[in-house]
Every structure is written in structure tokens, then in C-alpha cells.
Symmetry: C4
Subunit: 256 residues, 4 copies
């Protein structure tokens, strides 16, 4: 017997009322992953499906205590969120995206099956939009499956900017919308601007600020702010160092 | 359930009378794509099949209004073309060719199935023939599945030149002929000469000029001419710039 | 008919009593392979399953007498090992690991099927841990599927060090634990420190020294010591040569 | 419907008496391909199976008359060869080997199925053995599935040299032996020494000289000799040219 391309392990079967799905897999600046994992932690969402797959690297991760864990994608859920306590959410996070185009399609197709199983009508995919330069005030760019959704998101502060992203959206954040559109599941991709050079908590915070408005969910973003500050100090030091190297290079040139 | 390698979405089932198929997927100089898409626009052909596939990149394109669209290959049809209003045409165009050899074979095999379904007896595949240098007056080179077809095409101005293309024809433009020959569907590949460095509307125009003769279809090629002129100006500027850089380099050498 | 992804050839069906499995496939410094093959030779274990696979290179090896042998993975067994003559062992060794992620998963999944068939409850995977520098006294690092196993291994001298290996364990040595954990087969990976630049018998010896303690099996490691000495002399010469080249370079610089 | 990985087209079903199979697919110096195709031409063997496959490039070749031909592997047969008119031969030649390990295994597995269908008991695989330098008098090296075969081949002049080829035999020439051994079809690989830099008719001639002895088949090798002479003149000119370039370089250095 050959291993299936995807193996699902389920831990319980929660009853959810028209949940939304929020995807935050690794990607540019790990913005989506940071944002979604932060929400899971803050809201206390519970893992209920793990997906193992040939489409991931053949790898275990070793936790700090020496325990191994096979790389996976994982679904979490939380019920009764938001001001009105009426919003149920499914999260999709994980260690990797599918390694190949085939893997990407298989995994997103499976996610949409799970969406149908739980009657998900709307998908939010979170990601970063790499600008190739440091961004002081990251905008949150959007792309969506319908004009109504674009209008709704625009009101929440999402920027729909002509020609951004020019090359389309690659990976789960794009596929869930593209395949979802065909399957009549609406979706929007929220992309926090980022340099693309570092893991970017500031961009993740920008995305979550928008998500707060859209979902009417209060989130304590202070931890993310702390991470963003640390990252800022780290990159500032790096830039300083770079300058020094340059300056000393110039001095050498004068000496030479 | 795993996603199928190819997913077809059909919009209606047109009644076509012995249609021909014209393929113009992305390739060298995008000559075939430009030519086929131009015909679709001019003739007002209607999309009736979309193919989504694991063999394409896992990507959505974002239209200027912010709407996403999963990458696809698409079939269009038009009835009663040509002087005698008797020619039905199916077009195959799209965002990508299959990413792998397996994908290429699967997609072309599916195209031939569609050909059989609609009783297509002849396939025209359009492409570019990269010469690695600027081409002032692009010839249209040919390759075909039978001597009769070669004779017919030669009369229409297609050049069958010994040793061109020496390395054969790679991708859908080749496979549709090769697999078609085995399945008794005749076909010819029309390749407009092109540098291969740029998208080449002039080469696409050359191909369409031949197609006009073959199909007895009048096509307004003025838009393509405009695009060709713009491209010409663009490449001319580029060459000028290159010369300047070279000249200044020479000057520097004299100074040094 | 298409060839199966994996083809198993069995030579007899040994009756084993709750055997353990020891995996030693090629990897960093070939530490695991050296260690497992040495045990097979010393204990006189007998080959009983050969696996041929599309996931291996399309290659035969030519033995010194001119005979060809298709590349494979092979299972050996030995009964009644250890002081109490009560330990049965299955070994997994071979020429290659799976070439692709899919191949890695398929092969490790098959190994776990064989584990279930023979009622294997615990798996030891042997490997090297590349440190990128020469290691005089190689530690044996560990990672495992449960805290109890970590405690047991720690007592035997295995080092569980926070942040080592930071990037996880890739390949069969990791997958057998990760997939095994899901299938309720416990496992531990024993990684001998090694430079990663050479085949490393000294590191293999360090791993076997630990294995001796764990399994209460006496192993004559003198042959491995001889190999280690030869390797040491070889690398010492190499380093000397390098120094000479450097020195002469410096001399040249003085001259220049 | 998805295209099968391999599509066979058969043209008749010859009655063959315990034929041998001779494989000569593209490889190092194209030695095997040259040798097998030369035999097919000289003996007037007839094509009876064509294999098309997703494992080949998605490509048609264009013959000099402008006709396209899908790339393929092809089987030819000839009856009643040799002095005693009792040897039936199947040849396997083609445009490409499988592009991936999976493709290589699938194709060789299919070849062995065809061997069983026609009761082939022995396979000769022909290839080149790249030495990385010009070879004046190419030996024909061998590797085989049994000691008896090695003895028989040694008598015919095949050289079984310890450590050659050290890295094994990759591709169809190796796999047919390796898989064949498992399926009880004996086989020998005959490798003509070659530089590996050029197509090498001299090496192909060396291989056919051995084949003549083994099969008791008279072959007119004069055409191959002519090709070898042309190649020799070509490489001689190349070497001369290289020397000139070097010399002029030295002169320049003196001047400088």
C-alpha cells in the first residue's frame, strides 16, 4: 500500500455556525503566518485537524525538549467571537506550503472541501506583499473574488491598488480564492506591505488591525508590537553596521 | 478526494460544423498568443470551455479592478467565418502552457479529445521561431503532418525550409501535431520568425496574414500594426541606448 | 502495466519476537550507514527483504567481479542478540534514500508497514549531525517521540541539546519517527557529531558505543577504529597539505 | 480521460524464435544508438512497436521535408540472422531516454514485458564509457548479470575491468540488466570507450566488432569507418585550432 498524498488526523468534530476561514501559511515576510498564529493564541482557538502530506518536505521538527513533530498543516477553530459573540472562525496555519504546483493545488482543494463540510462561505487569506524596501507605514493591499467584497473591504481600510500585485498571487493565498471562486466560496486576500527581507511583525499587526475592523473582534496586539519593536531595533543595528562598513571602506580608499 | 489533474468548466455546448482548431498559447515572442487572441477579439469569438490544472502554476492573476482569476487555458468558438460564411473555428488560448512534460502531454491529449468531440479534422498551431537576431521581414515557417498539407500551405506562402526548425517544435504547438498525427487529426504549425527577445506583434501579424489567405477570412490587422510600431520604437530606443553606452565605453578606453 | 513505485522481494519470512528496527541509510558523513552495516556484519544478520523503487536512481552498481546489482534498500534480521539472548533486530540499510519528498514518504511509510507486520514497537534511526568543523570527541545527539524515551536515552549517554538540531531532521531518520509517532510506533534518532565533510567512522563508532549500552549487545568495534584511524591520517595529511599551500602562498607574498 | 504514461502502437506481431534484444538508446557519445541503428540499417530490420510517452520531452522532430514526427522509442525485429540463419533479434532504439528516474523505470519495465511476450532470454545493452580523454584504440568494457555470461563475453574480447565503471551504469543500459536480473532475463552491457565529448562512430565500430563475434553475424562496418574517419578529421582540426590559439596566446605574452 502506498501512502496517500494527504493524510488527515481529526481530533473531534466541532459544530460551527457558518464559520469563516482565515489562512495564514508561511510566505513573504511570514506576515500571514504571524498574523494567524497570533489570533489563534489570543483567541485560544483549538486544533481539530492535522494534515500530513507527501507535498511537504520529508522532515520532522525537533522541539526544544527534544521531542519530534512531523511537519504539517493544521486547522484550528474558535466559536462565538466578536462583539456580538456570533462569529465562528476556522484557522489554517502550518510549517510549509506544498512544495510543488501539484501539491499546492491538492492542499488548497482539500481546504475547500473542509470549507464545504463546515459550510464556510467566506475565506480570508493573509499574506505579505514584498516591496523590496523598508516600509515605515505598511498599507494592507487586497484582491478579491467579487466587486461587493472589494467595496466592503475598501470601507474597512483595505487598499485595492491598480497594478499591485502585478504578478498575481502565488500559493495558498491565491489558490484558495481562485479555486474558491469556481466553487462559489467568496474570498479576499489581505496583503500587508513588507520589505520581504525579514519576518515582519509590523506588517502582521497592520493586517490584524484591518481584521479587527472587519470581524468586530478586539485583539490585544501589544505582543506583536513588542516583536515589531525588537525587529526594528535589529534591522536598525544591521543598517548602522552596514553604514560603518561602508564608511570604513571609504576611509580605506582615502588612505590607499 | 484529490483534485483531478485537469478540471473543465463548460459554458454551453455550441453546435459546430467540422470546425478547425487554432492554438495560440504563450511561447517564443508570444507570437501565437498574440495572433490567436487578436483573432478572437476581431471575430468576437465566445469562450465556452475553461481548463484549470495542477499542471499550471498555483497562481491567481489580479485584474486592474482588484478581482482575481485562476490561471487557465480557454477554448473559444466562432461560427460562419470567412467569405463563404462556412468556416467554424475553435480557439485555444491561455495564461500558461503545462509546466512539466507530463503536463504538456496531458493538456494536449485533452485538446485532442475536445477536437474529436467537435469533429475537428485540422489543427493550426501558431508560434514564434526564435532567430536570435532582429528580423525586419519575418517569414512564416511551417511544419505539418502530411505532404498534401505542406503543398497546400506552401501555396499560401508558408515557407518549409530544410533544417528549420532544426531542433523540432517543443510544447503544445508541436504536441498537438505529433499526437494528432497518431490520432488521425491533421495539423500544421505556423511559426512567425522573431528575435525571441521581445513580445513580437510584427511576427504575429505575419502569421495572421497567412491565416487570412488560408481561411479566406478578412482580418483588420491595424491594431496589431500599431502595437508592432510601438514595439519597434521601443527596441530602436533600446538599441540607440546600447550604442551610446558602447561609445562612451570606447571613449573611456581612449582616455584610460 | 506500469511498474509499481515500490517492488519488494522477500527471501523467507522469519519469526521474530517483538523486534526493534535499526535504520542506517546514506546521509551526513554516512554515519548511520556505516554503523548499521557494521552491526549487520558483526552480528551476521541475514537479508530477507529487498526493495527496488522508482524513487531511487535508475542505476545498477557494478561489483568488482563485473556483476551488476540494481540499487535497492534492504532489510536484514538477527535473532537472540544481547546478553540475555532475547533481542531480535531488523536492520534497514541501502544504496540510496528516496530522491524526492514523495519517494521519502512512500519508502518510510512502507518501512512502518513492515514494522507493523513484524510487531516492531521501537525504531532507532542512526545518522550524522554535521557541525561544519572537525570533531575530536563526537557526542551522540538525540531526538525522540516521547519524554520517557528521552529519559531512557539520556541515561545511556545520548545528549538532548536545546536547539540541536535546529533545522529538524530530514530524510528517513526523521520521517520514521514522525510517521511512526502518528502510527504509535515509538522511535529515537541517534546522531553522531561529524564534520559532514568526510565519511566518518569515528562518529559511527560513537553511535555504536551508545547502541551497545542501550541494547546490551557486545560489538567488536576494532575494525571501525581502524577505519577511523585511516580516515584521521588521511584528513591530517590533507590539513598538512593545506597548511603548506598557505605557507608557500605567504612566502610568495613576501617575495612579491 | 488522462493520457497513459506509455502508449504503444504496434504494426503487426512477428513470430520470433527465442530472440535476443539489443538496446541502443541515446547516451554517452551516442555509442549505443549509433551501433544499434547501424545494425538495423545493415540487416534491414523492420519497425513493429512505437512507444510514445509523457516521460519523453513534449516535442516533435521536423524531418527535412517538413513532416513532423512525435519523439518515440521504437522496436525493430529481424529474423534468421547469423551464419546459421537461426538468430532472431529485437532492437530497441529511440530519440530519448526517459527524462526522470520514474520514466526510466517505467520504460525499462515495459521493455522487459515485451521481452517476456516474445520470449527474450538475453539482453545486450550497448553504450559508451566516457574516459574524459581521446581514445585511440577503444576497448569494449562489460558488466553482466551472471558469471557464466562474463566468461562467455570475455572470450569474445569484452574487457571486465575492476573498478570500471566505478559509478555503476545509469539509464536504460543499466536498468534493463538490473530489472532483468530480478525477472530472470540475463543481460550484458557492452560499453565502448569514448572521450564522451563527441558522437563517437569509432567506439560504435568497436562495439559492433564484438557483437559480430558474439552473434556470428557478418556486418559491413565500412560506413561506420567512414563516419569515424570524418569525425577524426573534424576533431584533429579542432585540436589544431586549439593549439594555434594557445600558441598565439603565448606569442602575445612574449610581446606583452
Amino acid at each position: 500500500m502506498i501512502m496517500d498524498n494527504l493524510i488527515l488526523y481529526r481530533d473531534g468534530s466541532p459544530e460551527l455556525k457558518d464559520p469563516i476561514l482565515i489562512e495564514g501559511l508561511p510566505g513573504v515576510g511570514n506576515v500571514g503566518k504571524l498574523a494567524a498564529e497570533h489570533m489563534i493564541e489570543l483567541l485560544g482557538a483549538k486544533k481539530f485537524i492535522s494534515v500530513y502530506s507527501k507535498h511537504f518536505p520529508p522532515q520532522v521538527l525537533v522541539e526544544t525538549d527534544g521531542l519530534v513533530r512531523l511537519v504539517s498543516n493544521d486547522y484550528y477553530y474558535i466559536k462565538n467571537c466578536g462583539d456580538d459573540k456570533k462569529t465562528d472562525i476556522i484557522f489554517l496555519v502550518g510549517d510549509y506550503q506544498g512544495l510543488t504546483p501539484e501539491g499546492q493545488y491538492d492542499l488548497s482543494y482539500k481546504t475547500l472541501e473542509i470549507c464545504k463540510e463546515f459550510n464556510v462561505k467566506r475565506v480570508y487569506t493573509l499574506g505579505g506583499y514584498g516591496q523590496g524596501k523598508m516600509i515605515d507605514y505598511p498599507r494592507v493591499l487586497g484582491a478579491a473574488t467579487s466587486q461587493e467584497l472589494i467595496d466592503e473591504m475598501t470601507e474597512a481600510g483595505v487598499v485595492f491598488s491598480q497594478g499591485e500585485p502585478g504578478s498575481g498571487i502565488v500559493g495558498a493565498s491565491g489558490l484558495l480564492l481562485g479555486l474558491g471562486k469556481i466553487e462559489s466560496i467568496e474570498g479576499v486576500c489581505l496583503m500587508g506591505e513588507t520589505s520581504g527581507y525579514f519576518v515582519d511583525p509590523k506588517s502582521a499587526k497592520a493586517v490584524l488591525t484591518i481584521i479587527q475592523k472587519i470581524l468586530n473582534v478586539e485583539l490585544d496586539l501589544s505582543k506583536l508590537e513588542d516583536k515589531a519593536d525588537q525587529m526594528e531595533q535589529f534591522t536598525a543595528k544591521l543598517q548602522e553596521l552596514e553604514k560603518k562598513v561602508e564608511t570604513s571602506g571609504e576611509e580605506l580608499r582615502y588612505i590607499g
